[in-house]
């Protein structure tokens, strides 16, 4: 019994990390329909900057801020400098963001080298407890709490604020938003920045959980996160949250028994969901205006 509870807990922790990254991708890919294959690069840079900041200052809060801020800066540069020219051009987005992903992955080796960089857990979050047969680590609880807070905060902004309403309107009909006197391009840049910042934050939080950050961690994470956004339903935060937990638990269980099959099973889950429900678990069929 203990092993199943441990696997479930690990799955939820995995899912929390997935969601932190998937939340940003839900905004960028799910809502704005930008196929951002550079999302993993933003996660990677957030992870490295946070690990470096924590190693040099010992301040974990500052490390989290550094991870998010570097991703926001990179995200804004990406959006304004390149992606703005390929809105409504999915092939262009694919090529541009894949190129950015490769550049970000290689560029991180310039200041930090090709080897892994240790990412320590802050002392304040290093406790652990034995509950029954399950070991509960304080940092894991922090990760779960962070993902729930991000989930609730984004839901509130999107559905209870004027900004959220403008974002939802802009995704549906950006021209008409402009006809309402609203500078939709600025709103999109802001949404992209928030999505990028969430990827950086996910990376910053992932470092101590993984114990080290590596140049390939963005690629490693990216496929599962795309699967999550598609399975959850494009643009659905609730869908992303549920799918994150589903894929997180599935990954934990499958990895325990057949470690090499985890990604394959996740891809199969996506295929099955799309066959049964093409709009994803919580996605909506698009209706004409």
């Amino acid at each position: 019994m203990g092993i199943y509870l441990t696997l479930a807990l690990n799955g939820i922790v995995n899912g929390s990390l997935y969601f932190l990254m998937a939340a940003g991708l839900t905004l960028i890919f799910g809502l704005m329909r930008v196929v951002n294959f550079a999302h993993g690069g933003l996660y990677l840079w957030g992870a490295y900057l946070a690990a470096f900041t924590f190693a040099t200052t010992g301040n974990f809060t500052l490390a989290l801020v550094a991870g998010a801020v570097v991703a926001i800066v990179l995200g804004v540069i990406m959006e304004r400098g390149l992606i703005a020219f390929v809105y409504h051009n999915e092939n262009g987005q694919l090529l541009v963001t894949m190129g950015i992903m490769l550049i970000l992955t290689e560029l991180i080796k310039v200041p930090f080298g090709p080897s892994e960089l240790s990412a320590n857990t802050p002392n304040d979050l290093s406790n652990s407890w034995l509950v029954g047969q399950v070991v509960i680590v304080q940092y894991q609880l922090f990760m779960i709490a962070a993902s729930v807070i991000v989930f609730l905060l984004l839901l509130w902004v999107l559905h209870k604020t004027r900004l959220g309403m403008i974002v939802r309107a802009g995704v549906y009909n950006p021209e008409l938003v402009e006809a309402c006197g609203i500078a939709i391009r600025r709103v999109f840049t802001m949404v992209f920045a928030v999505g990028a910042g969430l990827a950086g934050l996910a990376g910053a939080i992932a470092g101590p959980y993984l114990g080290a950050v590596t140049p390939t961690m963005g690629f490693d994470m990216q496929l599962n996160v795309f699967i999550i956004v598609v399975v959850g339903g494009l643009g659905s935060l609730t869908g992303s949250f549920v799918a994150s937990m589903l894929i997180g638990i599935l990954t934990a269980v499958v990895s325990f028994y057949f470690s090499s099959l985890a990604v394959l099973v996740n891809v199969l889950v996506m295929v099955v969901v799309l066959l049964i429900r093409p709009q994803g678990l919580f996605g909506e069929r698009e209706s004409p205006a």
């Binding site: 004027r162 403008i166 309107a169 008409l176 309402c180 006197g181 209706s287 205006a289």
Partner: protein, 240 residues
């Protein structure tokens, strides 16, 4: 009567085609000007050029004497031009209430305009919390007009609001436009000449990308030969 909007020798190229080849248009304040013409004549492109969605290759569009060239659509909207496009004139994923809130939510003047819109379109009051995408065709047109009413721009650009509506709905639309014309300046694109003559004070006919005729609507109503030549109609004078 002050001229709000003036379009002078407007040329627009789209996808390599010379779509507008010299459109001239004057929109006086406190009147309804109807842009007429056959399908594909360039009416919608003219509206989109005024709103800044397409760039003028030559010519000038001026608003209260100031050129609009180089401005983004949101900047043009903030100068007081409201736009209801022919297609996609609402946010189908938002509720009726949210659609109307897109043009602002603050102030007693806004509340009064919202109340006026809901009084004019009672269907929208009952569907206030419904998603706009689930409304009927007529209700969608009403919502597009209601959003303009709430925004209260100095000039309303309305692109073919009768398209796809049943005769009964067109009649209701005509009545609504007659109410709007009492307080608003409107530039209306309309293919339905019966509707156009009922609400219009002035007209301008676009044919093959250029303006070929302009004047008072009463003149056009009297001239069956113009209607035949420029609009392809066979309406006799006085027919409604």
């Amino acid at each position: 009567m002050e001229t709000l909007l003036e379009v002078t020798n407007l040329h627009v190229n789209l996808a390599g085609y010379h779509i507008l080849q010299g459109v001239n248009l004057t929109v006086p304040e406190h009147a309804v000007t109807v842009l007429l013409g056959r399908n594909g004549a360039g009416k919608t492109t003219t509206m989109r050029a005024i709103m800044g969605y397409v760039r003028a290759a030559a010519g000038e569009i001026s608003w209260r004497g100031q050129p609009l060239a180089g401005l983004r659509p949101y900047q043009i909207a903030r100068r007081g031009i409201g736009y209801m496009p022919e297609e996609g004139h609402l946010f189908g994923n938002l509720t009726v209430q949210e659609n109307l809130a897109m043009v602002g939510t603050k102030g007693t003047a806004h509340a009064a305009r919202l109340e006026r819109a809901l009084t004019l379109f009672p269907d929208l009051r009952t569907a206030f919390a419904r998603r706009a995408g689930t409304l009927s065709g007529g209700q969608k047109q009403m919502l597009g007009l209601a959003r303009l009413l709430v925004a209260d721009p100095a000039l309303m650009l309305i692109d073919e609001p009768s398209k796809g509506l049943s005769p009964g709905m067109v009649e209701a639309l005509a009545a609504t436009l007659c109410v709007l014309r009492e307080t608003s300046t409107i530039l209306l694109v309309e293919q339905n000449f019966h509707l156009a003559r009922r609400v219009g004070d002035y007209f301008s006919v676009i044919d093959e990308g250029h303006t070929c005729l302009s004047g008072a609507m009463a003149q056009l109503v009297e001239r069956a030969d113009w209607q035949r030549q420029y609009l392809g109609l066979a309406v006799t004078s006085g027919e409604v």
